[in-house]
Structures are given as structure tokens and as C-alpha cells.
Symmetry: C2
Subunit: 317 residues, 2 copies
């Protein structure tokens, strides 16, 4: 059974209830699915913005500044921040500190950092579930901030209405972004720290790459916005570009297609996650444990055991 | 059917056949499983060393230097390098260049970089499969080099007989390593670039953390080896420490336990990977595609559709 009071408290935007529900989703509690089904009817109001890019590009500073921008327009902002590299880049630590002094005390802002450790496979599912909770709670803008280094992180950044890829003018950064798959998901680019030497060359290089890419006359062309986020330069331009992208998508009826793609990725992950749970219930786990000896002693390959476990699973469900 | 000539060619260490078989494994070809089952009887000779740590710690330089060390002892060395952050850190690029001039021409060395893009979920499976192929081909040492930023990368580093965590004397690096889960998997640490200022403090800090951790009288205590890998300083000491760890594990009969744990992680991933394939065969994918509208129009939540798909799958298999 789900706690209907908790649902009610989410709708009236109670911060503790929101935090608790996100924790339920994170911990993979059985009631998480029921919660998410229950609140689904209230989901769909918020505009979701994905912010991604390499470590150190200034994503959290931009998230922070954009939040202040939207707050001035009286929009309530929810932030989901995911960064598996954060222990090493220090990004999240610094970002969190900036946030806490700057926007952390604002009751119109809700910030949630999501750990990646131990959440193998379910991370993008959980981040998007958390965004749904914030959406149902009535936040107007949801910022999904992730580092652009893995498929799971790209999935989160793509689960947005507008996806922004933040780069810095380091040599070859835009070429590397292409390799990492960031070019395909960007609705527009932000060239942050554009007061640095080499900024103009980096801008031109990125422009050249974008020009080479295939596109037809009527499709959306990703722009490049120059910013110095630490000095709040270019933040208004980002907001304007988000608005321009939103209008373009609406006018050309393109959100439907985008949401179909997003739903597909998401449903796939929910299904896989749930089947995994059933697979490794007591029976599956026990069979696995009792078969390990055979592999360690070299009698059977892991592939043989895997087939036995799959057979057992098929007979069981 | 599998190509038995290819299997034979692997056993006689034909480089092209090895490369081709790893590509089969990477591309998830149907015959991959059959290959891996077939060669399993030849697997188990190689000593596997996992090398992990944050981006920029010098993992590829250490891998390179260790390779030269083992080559002097006439050991054949296979290298599997995995780095999802490489497009941004530039690590793999530089590493590959060093490798190609230094050890790339040596017929006793086989190097394979594995891409992470598009290999969602199956990466550690594929990297370990590739290590099995090199093992069956007769390589004596297999170096598994991964960046320590995600669960999948940690899984690879742990699929070794000895796991080395490489750190640099940056402020707080060892604390961050703890957060990233690297402390738990290290058989010993390498403090690289230990000619840098602050090296002694970093060493002491790491030592303190290691002393605080629980351990009983008879268990293995991870050491810290200081290196300047770019000048080949400390590489002999790493090799000695690997040997010491190997002897300890053998004397205390601990490899059996370690291999059980590894087999468990690996079998789980094989099973999940295979079930996913069956799940998203034509039928599953078609049902998903035909249900997307309902989610986009807001009639049903992704969780409702997921349940329908799971039902269909259970009836089908």
C-alpha cells in the first residue's frame, strides 16, 4: 500500500515529503512503482532542461545562474544533479557549496544530488523518476544536470524538453564531445569560460563541425551561446535560446516525437530493472550461489551456468 | 556454428584471429557465446592485474612501464584498456601514442582499447570476455586498465587477481577515492607523480585512512607504493608488491573466494545481457513501439506499459 498522505503532501509541495519520496524511489522500495503510477496524472506541467558536458565545463555554475534567472521570473525550480566523476573532478562539491549559499535557502528551489554508486543500471530511471516527483509537486522548471561521460548520463540529459551541452574552449573539446556522443543530443551549445584565450578558435571549430553535419532546410539548427557563467555573462541568452527552442518545437509539433523517443528509453529501463529484481529473487540467487563452485573449479564456463539460470528463470515465471 | 579454425588460430596466438574474436565478442555476435564456451578449458593460465584510478593519475603510463618490466622477464602481456571519460581527459589518446611507439611493435604484447559508447550494460562483460580470449591465447599477464568512475569500470578492475588503485598527490584525492568506492577494491595503492609538492602529506593522509579501516590480524593490508611512472621510478616496486600479494593469496588459499565473487558478478551480467536480448526481440520491441502513444498522450504511465511488456514476455518465454 502507498501512503496517500505522502502523495497529498507532495501535491501541496511539502519539501520533506518530496525528499522522502525521492528516497523511496532511490532505494528501490516496492512502493516506488505504485507511487509513480499514482502521481503520473499530475506529471507533465514542468519544462525540463538537460544540462550536460565534460567535467569542469561549469555545468553546476550555469545550473545555479539559470536557477536565479528563473526565480526572478517567479518560476519554481527543481534541480536533479548526477555526476559519477564528481569525487574526482570536485565538481559536485564546489557546485554544492555555491548552491547552498546562493540558492539553497530559497523555498522556490529544490536541489537533489543523486549518487551513482551502487545504483548500477537503474540510475537514469531513478533520476527521471525524481524529475516526475518534482513535476507532480508543481515545480515549473526542472534542471537535469549530468556529466556527459556515459550512456546512462546521456540518457538523463536527453530526458528533457531542451538539452544543453556545455563546453569550454580547451583544445579539441568540441571534437571530443563529438566522440562522446554529445553532438547528437545537443539542442544548443554553451561555450562557457569564453573570456579565455583560444575561445574564438574553439567557437569557430564547433561552428564548422555543426555546419558539416547533415540537416535539411526546415530542421532545428543548434546554436552556440557564449558565456562566462561565473560572472553571470550570457545567462539571459541561454534562457532566450531555451525559449526559442521551445517555440520551434511547439510550432513544428515536434515534442510528440521527442516524448515518444524518451518514453521508449524509459520504459525499456523500467522493464529491465523489474525483470532483474524477479530474476535475482531468492531462487535465482540461490541457484547462482550453488553453481559458483563449478566455475571456480574450472568444470564449467560462466556461460554454461548462465544458461542454467536462464532456464530456471523461464520455468519459474 | 563456430569457426574451429579461428579457435585453433587463437591457441597458436595468431594476432589477427585474436583481434577478430574480440571484435565478435564486442559486436555481440551470436557465435560469441559459443566461442567463449569453447575456449573456456584453456582459460586460467594468465595472471590478471587490474589498474584503476581517477582520470589523469597516470594509469596508462604505469600500464606501459609494467608491460616493459614483464617483457624483460619474457612474459607475454595482453592489455585491455577501457575509459569512458577518455574523449575528455585525453588520457587514452596520449596513452595510445606512448604505447604505439614504446610497446606497440612488440609481438609479445597485445593491446586492445574498448569503446564504451553504445555498449550500455555489457561493457564489463565484454572486457572480461576479451581477457579470457587473451588468456586462452597464452598471454602470461593480462593488464585490465580502467578509469575508476563507475560501477562497470570497478567491476572490470575487480575481475583481476591483483587490483591496483593509482592516485596522485592532489588535495583530497584519497578521500575522493574512498567516496568513489576505490578503497574497497584496492589490493594496494600506487601514489604516482610522487615527486610533486604535497606528495608526503597525501601519502600520510592515505596511510591514515588505511589504518582507520577495519582489519583483523591475519588479513591482507594494502600498502602504498610511491612512483614517478613517467621516469620509470617505482615500477620494480609495483611488480614486487604484485608478487607479494599473489603469494599471500596463495598461502592463505584466498584466490578461491575471490574467484567465486568474480564468477558471481560475471554470471549475473551474462544472464542479464542474454535475457535483455530475448526481451527486446521483435515481439517485445513491437509491443513497446505500439504502446508509446498511450504514454505520450498521458493515458498511461510508463510503469503501466512496463507491466504489460513484462506480462507479454512471461507468456512468451
Amino acid at each position: 500500500m502507498i501512503d496517500l498522505n505522502l502523495v497529498k503532501n507532495i501535491y501541496r509541495e511539502d519539501r520533506r515529503s518530496i525528499a522522502r519520496t525521492i528516497s523511496i524511489v532511490e532505494s528501490d522500495n516496492l512502493s516506488a512503482t505504485m507511487f509513480l503510477k499514482e502521481i503520473h496524472k499530475k506529471v507533465g506541467h514542468a519544462y525540463r532542461i538537460g544540462i550536460t558536458g565534460p567535467p569542469g565545463a561549469g555545468k553546476s555554475t550555469i545550473t545555479n545562474q539559470l536557477t536565479k534567472y528563473f526565480r526572478k521570473q517567479n518560476q519554481k525550480v527543481g534541480i536533479i544533479a548526477v555526476d559519477p566523476t564528481s569525487p574526482f573532478t570536485g565538481g559536485a562539491l564546489l557546485g554544492d557549496r555555491v548552491r547552498m549559499t546562493d540558492i539553497g535557502m530559497d523555498s522556490g528551489v529544490f536541489i537533489r544530488s543523486m549518487a551513482t554508486r551502487g545504483s548500477l543500471g537503474g540510475l537514469s530511471k531513478k533520476a527521471i523518476d525524481a524529475a516526475d516527483i518534482l513535476d507532480a509537486a508543481g515545480f515549473d522548471i526542472i534542471l537535469l544536470e549530468t556529466v556527459g561521460v556515459g550512456q546512462s548520463e546521456l540518457d538523463i540529459a536527453q530526458a528533457a524538453d531542451t538539452t544543453i551541452v556545455v563546453l569550454v574552449p580547451e583544445s579539441g573539446d568540441s571534437v571530443q564531445a563529438m566522440k562522446a556522443g554529445l553532438m547528437e543530443i545537443a539542442d544548443f551549445f554553451v561555450m562557457n569560460k569564453s573570456d579565455r584565450p583560444g575561445s574564438q578558435q574553439a567557437y569557430t571549430a564547433l561552428q564548422t563541425i555543426l555546419m558539416i553535419k547533415d540537416h535539411d532546410q526546415n530542421s532545428w539548427l543548434p546554436n552556440i551561446i557564449k558565456t562566462v557563467a561565473s560572472e553571470n555573462k550570457g545567462i539571459d541568452e541561454i534562457a532566450t535560446e531555451i525559449e526559442r527552442h521551445k517555440n520551434f518545437m511547439n510550432q513544428n509539433n515536434l515534442f510528440k516525437l521527442k516524448r515518444e523517443k524518451q518514453a521508449k528509453v524509459r520504459i525499456k529501463e523500467i522493464v529491465e530493472h523489474k525483470l532483474k529484481d524477479e530474476l535475482w529473487s531468492d531462487t535465482g540467487e540461490n541457484l547462482l550461489n550453488s553453481s559458483l563452485q563449478k566455475v571456480v573449479l574450472g568444470n564449467l564456463s560462466p556461460y554454461h551456468i548462465a544458461e542454467e539460470i536462464i532456464e530456471e528463470f523461464k520455468n519459474r515465471i
